[in-house]
């Protein structure tokens, strides 16, 4: 299959999706190539989901600039794309005088980065606002603009918006090679060749591999794994803010924070791994995270753990993000090494990439029929009595609750399947509407979601997968061909 586009974006994580969404306003053809079978299936799937205030990065770096700009963009962005977002603020806690020095340094750095309203709180103020924190904490740096967002919900929303505005998404399309031909690039995947004038490399942990297909090696990406715990909503009031530990060289610091859905997330540790997608959890890693977390909140309830998981970060050999074009390869743009604060920075660096693209093409004309927002989702559980009555009257499927942990209706699940960039798998449904993300972890709703996916996608139940294309849940009919 031969396809010709103006711009090909490689990778449908938050970077690729943000850039696709941003470029979708212009009258140009854009496609996104994703090796996996869903959006946001790499580093953007499993991370802390923090929109950092921006005091952490060294002034003058891309990380500092884009973090500060990105943070300020989030409220309007999440409103426009209908993504849950909570600006709950963050604390960096200090246990001793050395930590105090770090707090002061962070505050100063934050002010240089232009971060508003940073404040060092006394132990008393900390105790009043966060009564479950360790009583040995002597102060905390409060950053009111820090926030939480669901990283995969944001990526999915970005991509859905892009597709609604004409961007073409190709899933299960790993890039095998890129051939530079005069002024264009020929991108080779197992079943197609795409000719693009401009290539944007958002390939996450594989960004170095993609870069090396076009240019001589300039950087390496290492995969760094972080492990997490997720606690039940019943533990949701244990902290109200994002609680960071002081960065130090004494050991690993982990954060504890409420999520946008009022769970508690704890993590991550940090481990360099050789295999770039080794997202298993380990007994050692998990206990390291827990032991570190209880330093901040001694009474973390272990019996409220509902799951553990790990994610990978793309750690570049450079200290900063690598977002740039190249004179020797016009039209090729790297968006590489997007480690923390990548999620926080994505809306801002998408604009920067937009400028690089504008520079390359000269000027771009805006689409006449551009849709700025995303079609609103229905969160049945959050509707008022009257709204619930109305929506069920309009579509009875909203009257059948499938997920009993979070009260998610069949209508919401069906909607998540039929949207642009819709769900194709059990985990795809989970990332979009949270079925299976609650305390039963899909034990009750799983069999029902198999039925709904099979019905809506018109595929046999045996073909319904948990996540990856080979992860079928059903192996046979009973009394069928199951014998060994």
């Amino acid at each position: 299959m031969g396809i010709k586009v103006d711009i090909a974006i490689i990778g449908a994580g938050v970077s690729g999706a943000a850039i696709a969404s941003t470029l979708s306003q212009y009258d140009i053809s854009v496609c996104v190539l994703e090796k996996s079978n869903d959006i946001s299936n790499g580093a953007s799937k499993a991370n802390s989901g923090i929109v950092h205030a921006g005091y952490d990065a060294k002034p003058g770096t891309m990380m500092a600039t884009f973090n500060a700009q990105g943070n300020a963009m989030f409220p309007a962005l999440c409103e426009r794309l209908d993504v849950p977002f909570s600006r709950i603020g963050s604390y960096v806690v200090a246990f001793n005088s050395e930590d105090m020095k770090t707090l002061k340094m962070l505050k100063k750095r934050g002010e240089e980065n232009g971060i508003p309203d940073l404040e060092i709180l006394s132990d008393r103020a900390v105790r009043i606002n966060e009564p479950h924190l360790n009583p040995d904490i002597i102060a905390a740096l409060f950053a009111p603009t820090a926030a939480v967002v669901s990283p995969y919900e944001l990526s999915i929303a970005y991509m859905e918006h892009a597709i609604d505005n004409g961007v073409q998404l190709y899933l299960e399309s790993p890039v095998q090679d890129i051939i530079k031909e005069n002024n264009t690039y020929q991108i080779i995947t197992p079943d197609k060749a795409i000719q693009a004038a401009c290539v944007i490399n958002c390939a996450g942990v594989y960004a170095d591999t993609i870069h090396d297909m076009v240019l001589s090696p300039a950087f390496r990406i290492n995969a760094r794994r972080g492990e997490y715990f997720l606690l039940d909503k019943y533990a949701g009031d244990i902290v109200q803010h994002i609680i960071f530990q002081c960065p130090s060289d004494r050991g690993k610091e982990v954060l504890i924070t409420p999520t946008t859905h009022k769970n508690i997330i704890i993590g991550p540790n940090s481990e360099d791994i050789l295999e770039r997608e080794a997202v298993e959890t380990t007994a050692e890693g998990l206990s390291e995270v827990w032991e570190s977390a209880v330093k901040s909140v001694p009474e973390l309830p272990k019996n409220q753990i509902i799951t553990t998981f790990s994610g990978i970060r793309a750690e570049p050999s450079s200290e900063d993000f690598i977002i740039r074009d190249y004179a020797e390869a016009p039209g090729f743009i790297d968006v590489a090494g997007i480690k923390s604060p990548g999620l926080s920075s994505a809306p801002a660096f998408a604009l920067y990439v937009n400028d690089l693209v504008q520079k390359y093409f000269g000027s771009l004309t805006e689409k006449e029929n551009y849709i700025p927002g995303r079609c609103k989702r229905i969160y049945f559980n959050e509707l008022s009595h009257e709204e619930r009555r109305e929506i069920v009257k309009k579509d009875p499927l909203y009257g059948r609750i499938i997920c009993r942990c979070e009260n998610i209706s069949e209508g919401e699940i069906v909607d998540s399947i039929h949207r642009s960039a819709g769900a194709r798998t059990i985990d795809g449904v989970k990332r979009r509407v949270r079925c299976g993300g609650g305390r039963c972890q899909g034990g009750f709703c799983g069999p029902k979601i198999i039925d709904i996916l099979a019905r809506e996608l018109n595929i046999p139940k045996e073909e319904v997968c948990k996540d990856s294309p080979e992860s079928r849940i059903i192996v046979a009919e009973t009394k069928g061909n199951c014998a060994l």
Partner: protein, 416 residues
């Protein structure tokens, strides 16, 4: 707004028995609300036998046991709403429901009986390390897929946890042609019934590995292997004892927890020990007129006991709407040394008949121990027990005159 004397939230064994008892004892308008498309609850997927030995003196399958109650409900004027979810219990006993036919509806109840049952602990709750492939699921989910949906979910199986569901599923998977390699149990004993160990494992030569647990899950798309390790007396894996089993499925039968979404959201006091709502002798919660019974109150071993308890709850719910339940203060039951929990947590002697029964579990196994019952710190009675295990719910009956003026009663285990 439609008014009912009693609304049962859940149409499993607890809801069915409670509704029938409420109706028989004076509640006129009774309604059962069930979220599934049929009554019977989890019993419908329990197609094995062993149900009803206490209540009917017969050996029934789960669906047969349920059907006895369903037939009785259908023959009565009890209203049944299936495929209907209760979203919220509001103030003044408003019940917010939704379904596809009647839409979003608010019902007024005179009394509410919560009978939502329990849910299974998951891999996530145990924090078992490893990858996250398909092929890891709770035994109950597997049971539903096989017995209700008609689909097999694996061919070579490891089961973690030797509770009854794990044992039953070892046999069920074998009968469907799968190979069950082993059942691993972290404790030095199985919490399942002896008859299930014999009939589900021994009869099929399935090894039961006591003091073993799963320490790693491997596989990318599907489970490829499971690592099992021995554990020491503190339930910690012994390094060097790891053994890898090539398989495609891990089933978990690692405990059940009361489903407390509704009572929790309604502000009902939850007991830290049972993890269900605190109840008094009438199975009434901290909100007067809201009752609980069955596995949402505490997890039972046998459905027969759920039925008994639910009949009591139904009786007292009827007493409540008839204005016959005495709301005077009671005293607390205290779970002392070696006692995991006691139900009820509070007793108001005025509402007890001639006697009251205490249901409890021990926190570990005991051989030749004595159970000490104290009333107001005075030892009242000693019960000699040859064997006590957490997997078996114990009960003792106390006559009313002993506790008429009590301020507390306490149970302790003392080793001989």
């Amino acid at each position: 707004m439609k008014h009912y004397d009693v609304i049962c939230v859940g149409g499993g064994p607890a809801g069915l028995a409670a509704a029938l008892a409420a109706r028989k004892n004076g509640a006129k308008h009774v309604c059962i609300i069930e979220r599934d498309i049929e009554l019977g609850g989890i019993l419908q997927q329990c197609i094995h036998n062993g149900f009803g030995l206490q209540v009917f003196k017969e050996d029934l399958t789960g669906p047969e046991y349920a059907q006895r109650f369903i037939d009785e409900v259908r023959a009565s004027d009890i209203e049944v709403k299936t495929d209907t979810m209760v979203l919220e219990i509001g103030k003044d006993k408003l019940v917010y429901t939704v379904n596809t036919k009647e839409g979003y509806t608010v019902l007024q109840a005179g009394a509410i009986i919560l009978t939502m049952g329990c849910r299974e602990r998951t891999r996530g709750a145990l924090a078992i390390p490893g990858t996250r492939p398909v092929g890891v699921m709770t035994a109950g989910t597997a049971q539903r897929l096989i017995n209700i949906e008609g689909y097999m979910i694996g061919k070579r199986v490891i089961i973690l946890g030797s509770g009854d569901i794990g044992l039953i599923m070892a046999r069920r998977m074998t009968l469907e042609g799968a190979k069950v390699l082993a059942v691993a149990e972290i404790m030095p004993f199985s919490s399942g019934l002896t008859r299930n160990i014999v009939q589900c494992l021994d009869d099929y030569d399935i090894p039961l590995l006591l003091q073993h647990t799963v320490t790693n899950i491997r596989g990318n798309d599907r489970v490829e292997s499971i690592e099992i390790s021995e554990v020491d007396t503190h339930e910690q894996p012994v390094p060097g004892s790891e053994k890898e089993y090539i398989c495609d499925t891990l089933l978990l039968s690692v405990g059940l927890l009361p489903e407390i979404e509704l009572p929790y959201a309604a502000g009902i006091v939850i007991d830290k020990r049972t993890r269900g709502p605190r109840v008094n002798e009438s199975m009434e919660t901290s909100i007067p007129g809201i009752f609980v019974c069955g596995n949402v109150a505490h997890v039972h071993d046998l459905v027969d006991y759920v039925t008994e308890e639910s009949e009591r709850a139904g009786y007292y719910a009827a007493q409540y709407i008839l204005g016959k339940l005495k709301e005077n203060n009671g005293f607390c039951t205290l779970a002392g040394e070696g006692i995991a929990y006691i139900v009820p947590q509070e007793i108001r002697p005025g509402n007890c008949g001639e006697s009251v029964e205490l249901f409890f579990r021990v926190s570990r196994t005991y051989q030749n121990a004595k159970l000490v019952l104290r009333v107001d710190d005075n030892v009242l009675k000693l019960y000699k027990k040859r064997h006590l295990a957490p997997g078996e719910m114990e009960r003792i009956r106390i006559s009313k005159d002993i506790i008429a003026d009590a301020e507390s009663i306490k149970l302790d285990i003392e080793e001989l």
